[in-house]
Assembly symmetry: C2
Homo-oligomer: 411 residues x 2
């Protein structure tokens, strides 16, 4: 599994560092073809679907039982790491290969999947792969979206050999999925900090993203007394501090971040009159997230009012949290218990393909630690021992669901 | 005086708004030549000096008495207003013209001056005009400095007709100046706020300018819990708020401003790890200014330490305050009293040519209100009534010092 993972990272190896493997590009196509080939070697029925996802099926004897899907995404961000998405793809494929070799035909069909795209790193749209499988994405969107070079998603699809003309809006949609299980790196430091090897995801957080525009009065820094100012940056600074305080008081799992702040025409001898900053708020609970947001914005308006500033807020994104399935999560925990992998429950603060599946079937995610929490970088790394532990946990759970019987009540 | 001021604004009128009249350019040369011509019409002996300053002399009968110099600068910032500098130049020239016509030869020589450059808007150096007259600038600097187009100050000087080769480092230096009096717009809102027509400047503030670099750890905004962050922007925000608070507590005339703040690679879903901001601190009292600075920086370091951030501070500028002369200032106040112009004392938060003269001779500044405190902008404006009041005040004081006798004790 580790060798295959290393090999996969050579597709799209970027001379400027890390891996750059973008949807429908040459390196992407080569990677997906290599996976099909490997899956076939492992004895799985493997093929592309209409939009470029790759499936590797291990058919079960009881065809009435809905299949369990397991995998992740094959694309990367620019100069990304070797593990984000790729780990889940390779581990699921190798897990099915191992199970077939060791146990033969399962009762329930198991399918490994390499989703064509998740990151939104080439076109301004994410989850193109899992979105098509679950029905959240449609081909109509492909003609409207273009990459930075002006190539539309539709053209790129065709150039890569996926001509879905005449197949309707959802040519890759799958009905009747029994469950979805995704193995992924944490992309955070909590597992490391708590000395745990396996993370069982409770939910994928919802997100609210806003842009806040604060206007005051730009003035001469020397001739304007402190009491006569309408300093937009001093106001924004108070708002940034308040955001942090309120998030700390709210406690985990809420996070709130000001990641961008720009002072318009910022000059060292001018009192700033125009500042824009972003708010990124995440929580596993939708009402809690909204309430926090409303409370925060109310207080930001109070700050603006007190300081004689104007404030304008625009909501850019509102995605609801997606809870993972308790039954599958408990099974993952039990597997860890059985082989003495220290595990803990935690939310996923980042989006994943699993959030597309959560609303339509029982879903779960298994995390392994990320060294220093680094991701989306060539420095992304997970120790081999942890990669193996995650793999073994996945194999154990897939065995239960594919070959065992107790899973039939769960999913 | 108002007509001549309006006429002067036509030299360098900028199609994009306001006035752009930069040192040694064609419009600058035309403006200075027009001033020489007008001065001659008014009966003043007028000529360029070696670096391009223009003087208009009204010789006094008692040549042992040191001359009183009065004027301002003829250059502007890009898209500047019609009054900043130009008002003092025109008013001083017209004042001498009026005094000569009304009273003939003074006892003490009076000279109007149009300094060639003060703003630093073409070359990275300010006060080229008053600096040469007082000895603070030297020709050696001219070869090292270039404008954005790459033309050196030396080349620009020569192209404008000022070839100072062989004249030594300080070809325009003047010894034995009795006093310097400058009329200028306030570029602030204090006079307006306090319903005063004339401002008598107590001192030109000193300035300390610093750049502060705060480093933390950039991290995923979703997967990094609030308690595990080293957020450089949250830290900088606390520092900005503290700067404002400390300045408010210190009280006038101290001002402290964060005019620029940049989040390196700021992205809405990344906790910022690298922020740089500027500090601009001004006060009329040098020890107070330094003490405030030391206290502030100490507290900024405490904030950084508490938050696990590193902080690096670089001092970019340290200019000492320059006190104006009490005797001249009292004479200005008395003049205002005599003609019922409401006046007040206030510091100048902006730099002026007067700060070059303060250390070498008794100096004073007279301010008139700026509508909405606006300057360095086409929207810069002062009501005609206030321009006239300032002019009349200047005339009154010049009369006392030039024709009267009581001034002889003062300067």
């Amino acid at each position: 599994m580790l060798e295959v993972l290393e090999e996969l990272s050579s597709y799209g190896a970027d001379p400027e560092g890390g891996v750059t493997r973008l949807l429908y590009t040459e390196s992407w196509l080569q990677a997906q073809r290599a996976l099909i080939s490997k899956m076939q070697q492992l004895g799985l029925e493997s093929a592309f679907d209409a939009v470029g996802n790759v499936f590797g099926k291990l058919s079960g004897s009881q065809i009435a039982l809905k299949p369990v899907l397991t995998g992740s995404h094959v694309d990367t961000v620019k100069n990304g790491g070797k593990y984000d998405g790729a780990y889940g793809v390779v581990a699921s494929m190798m897990a099915l290969g191992y199970l077939k070799a060791a146990y033969g035909e399962p009762k329930r069909t198991l399918e490994a999947v390499s989703f064509c795209e998740e990151e939104g790193s080439r076109f301004p749209l994410a989850y193109w792969g899992s979105g098509h499988v679950t029905g959240a994405r449609s081909l109509a969107q492909a003609a409207e979206l273009a990459d930075p070079a002006g190539v539309t998603l539709l053209e790129a699809m065709r150039q890569a050999g996926f001509n879905a003309a005449g197949l309707g809006e959802h040519p890759a949609k799958r009905e009747q999925i029994g469950a979805y299980i995704e193995l992924h790196i944490e992309q955070g430091s909590v597992l490391t900090y708590r000395h745990k090897q396996i993370g069982v995801v409770t939910a994928i957080v919802g997100q609210i993203r806003l842009t806040v525009h604060v206007t005051g009065s730009s003035n001469h820094a020397g001739t304007t007394p402190m009491t006569m100012r309408r300093d937009a940056l001093a106001g924004a600074a108070e708002m940034v501090t308040l955001t942090e305080q309120m998030a700390l008081e709210a406690g985990e799992p809420l996070v709130a971040t000001v990641g961008r702040l720009e002072v318009r025409r910022g000059t060292s001898n001018v009192v700033p009159g125009d500042v824009t900053f972003t708010l990124d708020i995440r929580h596993t609970d939708e009402p809690e997230m909204r309430t926090f947001c409303v409370r925060l914005l109310t207080k930001l308006e109070e700050i603006a009012l007190r300081r004689g500033l104007t404030i304008e807020t625009v909501e850019n994104l509102h995605a609801s949290p997606v809870a993972m399935h308790e039954g599958i999560s408990a099974a993952i925990e039990a597997a860890c218990e059985a082989v003495s992998f220290p595990s803990m429950r935690l939310p996923s603060g980042a989006g994943h393909d699993a959030q597309l599946f959560g609303p339509i079937c029982p879903s779960a995610m298994i995390f392994v630690p990320s060294v220093a929490g680094i991701s989306h970088s060539p420095a992304e790394f997970t120790e081999a021992g942890d990669l193996v532990a995650g793999f073994q946990t996945l194999v154990h759970v897939l065995y239960q669901f594919g070959y065992g019987g107790e899973a039939d009540e769960i999913i």
